[in-house]
């Protein structure tokens, strides 16, 4: 009897010993971040910027390794979803995950992950051709979309971020309706706009800065304040569209059930990396806003974002 008790106690002690130090000493081995986009894409660049800042400044005793999972982003996201929640696998994703969730493309969503942190975001601008006399400001664009609904061609990647931004833009004005046409991402949309194939589109700030000398006019910036790089473009609020904000943040998530030590541990590391000069310079170079949120605030922001994205995504997938 006594013997048994001792064994049980020993086993319990051993179990505790085994369980606790693993977490206390996070990270004990390299931390893997799944980037469900191809190497060289904007999410990959963000991940690698942080990786470099973390390594160069010794912010973490272990390495941060980036694994690009090819194919559609839902594939890599699903890998992260199904990964062991041991604190050594994370996911870097953005709003697109919510689009896929809201549009019914996937059977899981942001709530199936532990929120770690949001590091930086880029915001979109409503754009037209520079020489297009019809549109002097965003109001005139929306007025025409109301007067002649379903006639102005809006170039987008249907079901994706720029499509949802377009829907939010038209939703600011009752009765306004663009005709959304599948064109693709920023460069394809710029080509189509300049080639008179489309009437309007949305571009990210970095794309706008790249293309504005080549004949693109920004009508309004979907962020609360004007961008220092493009002070000529009013915010959508200044242009009279209420609180229209459309930004895409870099979201670091962890599989559900990941120990709190690991979640907070990575958030600490990211917060410190965020302050490094390297990260700040890179963000400025890519015209991204240096937003940083974590913990409760980040979780709340995700919920609030999904409230807006869900109906938009449903609208987008209906077509």
């Amino acid at each position: 009897m006594k013997h048994r008790l001792v064994t049980t106690l020993a086993a319990a002690a051993a179990a505790m010993l085994m369980a606790t130090p693993v977490l206390a000493a996070w990270p004990e081995k390299p931390v893997k971040v799944i980037v469900p986009f191809k190497p060289g894409g904007s999410s990959d660049q963000t991940a690698r910027t942080f990786q470099k800042a973390i390594t160069d400044n010794n912010l973490m005793p272990q390495k941060l390794t980036i694994v690009n999972v090819g194919g559609h982003y839902t594939i890599g996201s699903r890998q992260a979803l199904e990964a062991k929640p041991d604190g050594y696998t994370f996911l870097l994703i953005h709003k697109a995950l919510m689009g896929a969730q809201g549009g019914g493309m996937i059977d899981f969503g942001y709530a199936d992950f532990e929120p770690v942190a949001e590091t930086s975001e880029f915001c979109l601008l409503s754009c037209v051709r520079e020489n297009d006399e019809r549109f002097t400001d965003v109001k005139s664009l929306l007025k025409m979309a109301t007067d002649k609904p379903d006639s102005l061609i809006f170039g987008a990647n249907l079901g994706a971020l720029n499509h949802m931004a377009g829907i939010q833009l038209q939703n600011t004005t009752p009765g306004a309706k663009f005709r959304f046409v599948q064109i693709g991402g920023g460069t394809a949309n710029f080509t189509a706009l300049i080639g008179n194939q489309t009437d309007t589109t949305v571009l990210s700030m970095a794309e706008y800065l790249n293309f504005k000398v080549k004949g693109v006019k920004g009508l309004c910036y979907m962020f609360p304040t004007r961008a220092p790089e493009a002070p000529e473009v009013p915010t959508c609020k200044e242009a009279g569209l209420g609180d229209l904000v459309y930004c895409v943040g870099s979201w670091w998530l962890a599989p559900k059930g990941t120990p709190k030590e690991a979640v907070d541990g990575l958030a600490d590391v990211l917060e410190k990396a965020m302050e490094t000069e390297y990260v700040q310079t890179m963000l400025k170079k890519k015209a991204m806003a240096p937003t940083f949120t974590r913990g409760e605030a980040f979780a709340k922001k995700l919920d609030a974002t999904y409230k807006i994205v869900e109906p938009t995504a449903k609208q987008a997938s209906k077509k």
Binding site: G40, G70, I153, G159, R179, Q182, G195, S317
Partner: protein, 508 residues
């Protein structure tokens, strides 16, 4: 113009030049080994370029392309075995000339013609691309759709062998391009709830499977086969200016044919060589001499297959539409390096667009030099036992495919398409149309649906776009072409039957 010179001077640095030389020499070696093709080499090298600068990656791959197409002539001439399918036509006259005791001369004529062919098509590439890119900026979805349609129709009518088998192959390729995310609405289709299929079947696993794995299976079946030694001397390899002048007209004509065939989306170097050879033969005063070691035969085949490379790059860098199977991989390379292929490449990434053009020119010079001085040594690589080569290539196939997306699913896809490719070839169904259907049908679908969205579903809207109407008219004419071709085809078939079909890949 400034961008052009910048790209050139950028190339004249140690690292880019080294890469280019490595690319060309690897290409020549692989091209010279029957059973290994330029397509295979480039597809396998692609994952290695992930961490290179995009311009350097392009430089390396372009070098391999040029080397790979040129190297094929060595075995074609010395062994009557086309090192790559592009040099099938070279066997007809190159081998007889070599056997008559003039191997050096036969190689020399082939190498010089390859070089001149490269220069001719470079002129078209450099001259046509920038204005064409400007023009393509005006292209909308209807223009793109009708252009791809034209390519598909031409492919069917120009493909070798049975048209029905070509069509079957093309349709199969299109079918395999369907699963995954719908290109215009972002919804999943034909995935059968199997999440690994959400991204569809990716280009490179399919290509590596269909071209490399199937070839490995085929070679493994005949692994004991060893080529007979042939002594090679370099005597006569330097071709004088007089010779170039004598063959000048032929070179110019074959170079233009090659460039034009290359320019047409989806058709590669082997068809270019065949068209040029047939044309030269039909125009010749002494057609009976062809096939007996007649120099104009070598000249037209080698000029045309090399000039098709430059031609095929034109639609790639100006419109993002691959001109051949290798260009489909180069397109993949651009996308992996986050470059948007299309008319804007000249504006957004002039260093890459002009990088293509300048690398192509320099690669031709390097190829010429290397081939002239090292051909005797390169010829020896074909005696390396296949068992070593094949196992190494198989390992690279698996690693390379996995590295593309860090997914093992891609490796299974590659192996499956290896079996499919082998099966198709076994049934004498050409693989070229399969790959082209696979590559072009998503482009066609996306543009057709965009066009219809813009026009509220009205098909007749296409008649409002004059350029698109021209493309449609050309497509219709191409459908009638095979009837007209029937007469020529009979003669071609006889010529083909003479060559031993060791390398049957329809495209390089």
């Amino acid at each position: 113009m400034a961008d052009f010179f910048a790209a050139f001077s950028n190339l004249f640095q140690i690292w880019p030049l080294t890469l280019l030389a490595i690319g060309v020499s690897l290409g020549i070696v692989v091209g010279a080994i029957p059973g290994l093709t330029a397509t295979m080499l480039i597809a396998l090298t692609l994952p290695l370029t992930f961490y290179m600068e995009s311009v350097n990656a392009i430089t390396l791959l372009v070098g391999m392309y040029v080397g790979g197409i040129s190297g094929g002539l060595i075995t074609a001439t010395l062994l009557r075995m086309p090192g790559t399918p592009a040099s099938i036509m070279t066997t007809f006259d190159g081998f007889p000339l070599a056997r008559k005791g003039q191997p050096g001369r036969a190689l020399g004529v082939g190498i010089t013609s390859s070089f001149i062919g490269g220069l001719i098509s470079w002129c078209f590439l450099a001259g046509l691309s920038p204005p064409l890119a400007k023009l393509a900026l005006r292209f909308g979805p209807w223009e793109y759709f009708t252009m791809v349609l034209m390519a598909l129709v031409m492919l069917a009518s120009l493909a070798q062998g049975s048209m029905i088998k070509g069509l079957i192959s093309g349709c199969l390729g299109m079918l395999f391009a369907m699963p995954g995310m719908d290109p215009s609405l972002g919804q999943m289709r034909l995935t059968f709830g199997f999440h690994d299929l959400d991204a569809g079947l990716k280009l490179l696993p399919v290509l590596i499977g269909a071209f490399a794995i199937s070839q490995i299976i085929k070679d493994a079946v005949e692994i004991d086969w060893r080529p007979k030694m042939m002594s090679v001397s370099r005597r006569g390899i330097i071709v004088g200016f007089q010779d170039v002048k004598r063959h000048g007209i032929n070179m110019l004509r074959s170079g233009c044919i090659g460039t034009w065939i290359g320019l047409l989306p989806g058709i590669g170097a082997n068809i270019a060589a065949m068209m040029a050879y047939t044309t030269t033969k039909n125009l010749s005063k002494e057609p009976q001499k062809f096939g007996t070691g007649h120099e104009p035969g070598i000249v037209s085949a080698e000029t045309a297959n090399n000039s098709s490379i430059g031609g095929a790059m034109i639609p790639l860098i100006t419109m993002g539409i691959p001109g051949s199977v290798v260009d489909a991989i180069l397109l993949g390379a651009l996308i992996i390096h986050n470059l948007q292929p299309g008319p804007l490449l000249f504006t957004t990434n002039p260093e890459v667009a002009y990088g293509f053009i300048s690398s192509y020119l320099i690669a031709n010079f390097i190829m010429f030099g290397l081939m002239l001085f090292a051909v005797v040594h390169i010829a020896k690589v074909m005696y390396i036992p296949k068992s070593y080569l094949l196992s190494a290539v198989l390992v690279f196939c698996v690693i390379g495919t996995f590295a593309l997306g860090n997914r093992f699913f891609d490796v299974w896809v590659m192996l499956a398409f290896g079996l499919i490719g082998f099966g198709l070839e076994y049934c004498k169904v050409p693989l070229g149309p399969f790959v082209i259907g696979f590559v072009l049908s998503p482009i066609a679908e996306e543009h057709l649906r965009s066009a219809l969205m813009m026009a509220e579903g009205n098909f007749l809207d296409v008649f409002n776009r004059p350029v698109a109407v021209v493309f449609l008219a050309v497509s219709a004419l191409s459908l009638l072409w095979p009837l007209y071709q029937e007469r020529l085809a009979r003669r071609q078939r006889e010529a083909l039957a003479a060559a031993e079909p060791l390398c049957q890949n329809d495209s390089i």
